[in-house]
Amino acid sequence: MAGFHDVFSLFRESRREAALLGAAAVILILLTLFSVWLSHRLESDAGTAAEINRYYAKLGRVGRTMRTVESSQRGYLIAESEQYLRPYNELYSQLIPQAKRLIESVPAALEEKERLAVLLDLITRKANEMAVTVADATNERRDAAVARLKDNYGVKLSEQIEEHINALQEKAIAKRDEIEANSAELRDMKMIVDVIGGVAVLAFSFLSIWFLMRSNAALSRAHRALEKTNDDLEDIVMRRTAALQRANDEIQRFAYVVSHDLRSPLVNIMGFTSELETLRKDLFERLEKANALADTDVLGKDFDEAFGFIKSSIARMDRLINAILKISRQGSRPLHSELIDTKKLVESVISNVAHQIREKDARIAVGDLPPILSDRMSIEQIFSNLIENAIKFLKSDGQGEIKIEGYLRGVDVIYSVSDNGRGIDPRDHQRIFELFRRAGPQDVPGEGMGLAFVSALVRRLGGSIAVESAVGVGSTFKVTLPGTIAQTRGMAA
């Protein structure tokens, strides 16, 4: 049973494979999550770097605006030309808002709020200084304006602002470089993770394919083993059937030969017994004539008794041999399947035994009998034996009743023959179907052959027979037959 073993080990294997594949799936999911997280991280870092770049540019712009406004202020003071004041007028108002926007847009990563506040303060002071200077110059207080210029307050503010901007820009660049360096590392890591993930996917795919192929191979191995077992079984069944057929044929031949060879000596025994009887008559006539014996009557009776026993024994033996012959012939007779109107068949069987029924003063009722596709001669024999039996064992009180009924159960047809005769002891229910065995008081002639014959017929048609009976109440013989006889059954006895 290699096949079953394979199937079992297949189950065990597949459990291990499932665990392995599950672990593989978990690993793949973790790798994917890690890779996704890295992508997000890289994206946000790139965003921060871009933000820092924009912030850096804004710092530069604030510085440039401050310078432009300052040089415009100075040009105006030196040249006293309104033409120099135009850039001042254009940009002055933007200086403070630019500085304020800068504070708003500083990236959180830089932590520069305090220094920017200082820067704003410086720019505000510078703006005030420039505004006051320009106002003085415009309002004919040029000396005061020049004097303020000379005390270098404005220059110092400018220098301080530039220093702050430079420091801020340097810090921003440093931060950006740090982020970019970090991003490069992350990118390397992501690449490694992705490569590992790819390799893992490939590896697990190959693993799965390998598992599949292995379990497929095991399955087809199991399949082949099963097929082989099947073939072997069929072979075994065929061989057994052939052996049974041979044994059966042998028994048939044996029964046939035995019954014939037993008959030959029986003819002699019977023949020469009759010859002896003739001789006896001659002998006794002569003895009487010679008056040699006084009591020839007694002697003659003894002779006759002996002859009687011999003859009745021979007759009985002949009937037994005929019974064996009949069963053996029945077994070798081919079956012919035809549609039988069972009711009609039973009525004709009954008409053949009408005399016995009248003798017993019995009533016989035939119910609705379903037709059957079977061997006519066998069905006829079955009914005639069962009906004759039923009549034979009825009580002779004129109350005898026989009922013949039938019905369908699935594909089977069931016929029953019931009587209210003397019944059969339950201990004998099996025995009565055996050859030459009888039950109850032996007051009815017969060889114990009928039911054995019926049972052989029913078996040959692929059916079964059963009896329900109680002593003194009656018997019901129930014959279950397949609705159609299979062609192969024609071979079996």
Binding site: R263, P265, V267, M270, G271, E275
Partner: protein, 145 residues
């Protein structure tokens, strides 16, 4: 004038042979009975007489089918395929009452088939009737049709 018919009896059972002969005699048949207890010696006899014209050796065959050395059917076949002997009446006398076998014998050209009944009265009656049959039977003359 034809030569009287010789009854060739092929029967392996001596008892049966004796009973048959006795009952034929009782029926008043006086023809010569030539017994054979096996098939081979009977065939040898048939081969000896087959070259002579049938009217010189008119025979009637009583044949048992169950012979120790061959089947009576073989002998029946031989007789019915023989140029001269085919006209000889053949009476098959055997224990077999198998319808198929009986039919086979008739098909091969047996004239009468008798089953040996165990009931002796019946047997005796059958043989005596056979005796009557033998005494009235006229062997056909192959020359004069």
């Amino acid at each position: 004038m034809n030569k009287p018919v010789t009854i060739v009896m092929i029967e392996d059972d001596q008892g049966h042979a004796r009973l048959i002969e006795r009952n034929i005699r009782r029926a008043g048949v006086t023809n010569e009975v030539m017994p054979f207890s096996d098939g081979a010696s009977a065939l040898a006899y048939f081969k000896k007489i087959e070259s002579e014209p049938a009217e010189l050796n008119p025979i009637l065959v009583l044949l048992d089918l169950n012979l120790p050395d061959m089947s009576g059917i073989d002998i029946l076949e031989f007789l019915k395929n023989d140029g001269h002997l085919r006209v000889a009446p053949v009476i098959v006398l055997t224990t077999t009452d198998d319808q198929l076998e009986i039919q086979r014998c008739y098909d091969l050209g047996c004239n009468v088939y008798i089953t040996k009944p165990v009931d002796y009265e019946q047997f005796a009656v059958a043989i005596r009737q056979l005796g009557l049959f033998i005494s009235v039977i006229k062997i056909p003359d192959p020359l004069n049709g």
